[in-house]
Every structure is written in C-alpha cells, then in structure tokens.
Symmetry: C2
Subunit: 353 residues, 2 copies
C-alpha cells in the first residue's frame, strides 16, 4: 500500500473544526488562533517497547498517543484544538492504521480535536503526536507559581497505570507470589494504563485558581520535583492522603501501593497547588453534591478522597503542602519521610518490556 | 545521562524570539500568533535507514530534520517561527545530541526559528520535527490553484540530492562502471543531499504571484502530480528545460540525469505555477541584474536556466506549462513523452540503505 492510501485512511477520521482553514492534504495546515489567545504547543513520541508493550492493541496506542499530549495541554489550562500525527510503521498495514485511528479519533472527537496533518513513513513502530491548543492570553498555568502555604491537590487516583504495567510486562508481575492471571487482572487498572483520560476540563477550570500545575506522566515525585524546582519551593506529601482506587487497594499491599502511587508513571492526572484564599473557589468548581466531600480544611496532614467522578471532572484530593526550601518528601502517618528507590520514570533507563 | 541533561543540551541551543511567551521547560510552549495571521503547521519524521544513511553526520541529520519541515512552510508562503523536536535515540549520547543540535540550530538561527519544545526518549534513531509558522490571513499558497495556461517554474536545480544518495548507498553506485570514490564525489552534490536549503524567502515572495506551489521532496513528477490532482489540471514539462547543476551534468549521462531530475527526491526546491499576467511580477521579485536572464516568454517549449543565486533567492527556471486534463508528462525535444519507471519516492517501498 502506498503512503497516499494510508493518508486517506487517516484523513477519513480527521474530524472537523471551523478554525481549520486547510487540513490534511497540502504541505502544511492553516489554522486560526482566536484573537486574544495564545497558541499552546507540545509534542511527545511513543515508541514500541519503551512507552507501550509489543502486542498492545493499536486502538489503545492511538488513544494514548493523543492522550499524553492532550494531558500536557490540560496542564497548561489550554483548550485543545488540533493535532499532527507522524506515524512510523514497519510496513504499510491498513488494519493497524484503521485500529490505531479508531482509538485516536475516539479521544480526538471527545476532546474536540481535529487531526490536521503529519506524515506516515516506514521504520520501527513509533508515533509522534503534536498537540496544539489555545489559552486566553496571560492565563496559562505553569510549573513556576507554587508558593509556600499552597495546598497540593491531585485529580483522580494514583498508581493504577504502573501497577497494570508491572503486571502486564512479559516477565510477569514483579512479585510472582502476588501475580494474577491476565483474566483476573482488573480491567479498570488495565484501562488506566492503556486509555488514560487527559483532564482537559479540570485544567481549564483551574485557570485563575491554581498557582502551579503539572500532569503526572513520569511519576508523582518526579513531576512535583519539576514544580518544586521551577517555583523554588519544597513540597511535603502525606502518604496516607494519596488517593488509590479500590482495585489498587485490593491488588497491592500498602507499601507496594504507596510505591506505585508516588513513583509510578502514566497516571496523567493533574497535580496542582492552590493558595488558601482560593480553596473556596476550587470547591465552587465542583458540582454541589460533591462540594462537601472536597477536603480543603487547612490542618495538615489531612487524608481524604473525593470519591465521585462527575461529568468531565475527576475526583480531587488534597495530598500535601508547599513549604519553603526544596525537594519533594512523602511523610508517613508519623511524619517520618518515606524512602523510595527512585522518583519516577527515566526515559533512558526504563524500558517497558 | 538522564533525559533532563539531554534537554539542557537542547535548550542551550533553542534560540530566542520575542513571540515565545514560554519555551522549553514546561508542559507545553506558549506562543503568540500575530493578529491578522494564520498559524501554519506541519510535521515530518526522519528515520535512520529510511531518510538518511546509517553513519550520517549527526549535524547533517539535525539540519535536514528541520530543513524538510521549513521547506513545507516555504511551500505555503509562510514565515517560519517555532519548532518542536521529538528525538528518539538508542542511548543517551551527549556527543550525538551536541552534533545534532549544531546542525539543527545552524539552520534554525538562519531561518529565525526558535526551538520551543519536544521530548527525548529511547528507541531506534528517529527524529520528528514540527514546524510552526505564520502567514497573513488568506494569503497562503496551496497545491490547488493551478490553471491551464500557467507556466511551471522550479527554483534551483533538480536531481543533485538523488544522484548523491545513489552514490553514497552502501552497495555503491547504481552503475558500477560509472562509480567514483567518495573522495572524488562532488561535495556540492553531497551538500544538496545532506544540507538542503529550504526556499523560505522565495516562498513568501510568491504570495500573490503563484497560483499553486509545492516543494520537491518525493520527486518532481510525484510532487507535481499532487498539484495536478488538487487543481484538476494536467502538466507538461520540457525535459531539456529541467535545470541541472554543472556537477550533475559532469557526473551523469543525459538519460540518467533526466531520471534523477524528474523522479529523484530530496531536492527541496519549490515548484510553482504562475499565470501569464503575473510573469512580470515574478520577474520583479528578482534582483535587477538577474531579471533579464529569467525565461518568462510564453512560447513553449522553452529551455533556459537562471544561473545565479542571489541573496536568499535561488535561480528560477521555467520548465513547462499547465494544461487542461490530468497527469504530469515530460516531453523530449521532439515533444514525445518520456517514460520513467516511477514518479518518485514511495515511503513504504524505498529505503535508503
């Protein structure tokens, strides 16, 4: 199959937006950034054996390749608009492309994102997605605004994806005695690894509320380390406050669970800091029936989990505080720092298989 | 070396622009598209063994990875502004990254393009660049505007890069009897393969002048085929009018030369169609001392070569005409169509090694 047939298959699922003056099919796309808004741009590649296991459903790869980029836009408080896709395949495989695009466009359509360009070429399986979005000028959220006294919140639950990854690796689960067969393995955890939900609506809602935001892609400690460095602050987390899914609580003992929550990558939740004067504003973001459950009282350490996911908004849990100093520490129930082997995923040391 | 050290090496050569509100170092870049302008976006990957030979100088890879994308912006008449780079490396190799960035930033600086984001990860060597630029609203050049009666022009010379590629392949030159040692091989042709010059200034100058534009990446016939299809026209080229460098004329016999000129990829020249009422405008684009040499008289077939390259502008040669109908044909001096095995590069059939 020639490249042009593949492009036709991609184009068929490209989606449409009124601000695409020219989409796939020319040398470049022509796009309209609204007056008063800034362009937000990011680009992340997914490689077989590094970011996903060989044999992963192509539809899941398609979803995730877009999701990790939309998550970056969400962490900026941006509204996603357009995507470019560079698809490298070992051979021109129509079935793969169709399945890939089924997953890619399922998320693209849900997020209102149009595929406007890219290329297909031959080589070891690799997917590079560029996501483009818009944000009102001056309102973007960054990693640099955290201040001592801010509370630290995280959306959703932590550790599910890394627990699933450890289970699904070819060499089996890390702890053979605790292993389960694939059939037994909770689908909810598998979905968290393969079909992460970028927190797009939450990111936009945090504009004017959060002082600093990042998405949890490499691991909570590693990613909060970026906020700490960019903001010139330290961060303390309460181990017991870190939100865990019911499936993860069933699957892992507390120590293993904490390791996955604190250092596992691929969660794609938003972690953000909010000053005390805006905790009520944060509470107001959430639907009335859940507001009471949002733990925003100032006395740390405060465990708690906002259990419901309502509409576009995930649960949000307060997990710690910004302090003067530097670094990120996880404190146990006695206030003693917990040691971890590492803070998160290192792209040149960790490989999936 | 951790990913973050690599990113520091990339950031050191990122360049600066006043319209970058936030560059490398957060979840995404924040960019300012000027009022009244459209965003122009494209994305092309380069894979080892497909787009460049194993052992190619990393500086050349860096240059070319950006060049092929800036060439796409040039073909839209856009002004390049920003780039994102996704770099996949087998290992965290600081020497490779430094050399790569030397080539990348040499072109980025010359083109006024700032590197604003991307990622580094491990895997088989692959480079994906996204180029972003701007164009005054409604003035972008596309493939779709060619009309019967337009003349077809091409910048620079054709076939140099493919002649160099055939010479440098590991299995040696295609025609052993004609082979030369690497030392003898003309550096000018090698540079045309490894360091293509995107025709950025020319592309912008063609706004309001050309009816249709494309860059020659896959091969002249293949790329003009896109214009023919998008515009619903046919195109006739005059074999003797196709511009060739002196080095190519010395290296190849006329039939081989014509094959490289018509079907070889990687030229990154602009080929464009101009209606007769704008031939004088086209002439006016060029510096006065060269205007007389620009062949714009209407009687086809007209050979001719505009030999000088002045400032940012390459030579421009009239090579044929747009006709009613469909398809692209090359006519010899007697007006007889020339047969070629193929029109150009097919990404899933051709591999470099």
């Amino acid at each position: 199959m020639a490249e042009f047939d593949l492009i036709a298959r991609l184009t068929a699922r490209a989606g449409a937006r009124g601000d695409v003056a020219l989409g796939i099919g020319d040398d470049a796309a022509l796009l309209e950034v609204p007056a008063g808004e800034q362009l937000v741009a990011c680009c992340d590649a997914l490689n077989e054996g590094v970011h996903f296991l060989p044999g992963t459903d192509p539809a899941d790869i398609g979803w995730k390749a877009l999701a990790v980029n939309l998550s970056d836009l969400a962490a900026m408080g941006a509204r996603p608009a357009w995507a470019l896709l560079s698809l490298t395949l070992p051979r021109a495989d129509a079935d793969f492309v169709d399945a890939f695009m089924r997953g890619f466009s399922a998320l693209a359509d849900a997020a209102g994102t149009a595929l406007v360009g890219g290329d297909t070429t031959s080589g070891p399986l690799s997917i590079c997605v560029t996501a483009l979005g818009c944000v009102p000028r001056g309102q973007a959220l960054t990693r640099a605004g955290a201040r001592p006294g801010d509370a630290v919140f995280v959306s959703g639950t932590l550790g599910d994806a890394s627990a699933a990854l450890e289970h699904l690796r070819p060499m089996g689960p890390r702890h053979p005695g605790e292993g389960r067969s694939d059939d037994d393995f909770p689908m909810s955890l598998r979905d968290r690894l393969h079909r992460p939900t970028p927190r797009i609506a939450l990111g936009q809602a945090l504009r004017g509320v959060a002082n600093a935001v990042i998405d949890v892609s490499d691991g909570l400690l590693a990613d909060l380390g970026h906020i700490a460095r960019a903001s010139g602050v330290g961060i303390e987390l309460d181990a017991e406050a870190l939100p865990a899914s019911a499936a993860l609580r069933t699957l892992l003992d507390p120590a293993e669970r904490l390791r996955c929550q604190a250092t596992g990558g691929d969660d794609y939740e938003l972690v953000f800091t909010v000053p005390s004067e805006r905790w009520e504003t944060l509470r107001a973001i959430f639907p009335p029936e859940f507001r009471g459950a949002l733990p925003i009282t100032p006395s740390p350490p405060l465990a708690g989990e906002w259990a419901g996911v309502r509409g576009a908004f995930p649960a949000v849990t307060r997990i710690g505080r910004v302090v003067a100093g530097e670094g990120v520490r996880v404190l146990d129930a006695d206030g003693v720092p917990v040691d971890f082997d590492r803070a998160g995923w290192e792209h040149f040391m960790d490989k999936v298989p």
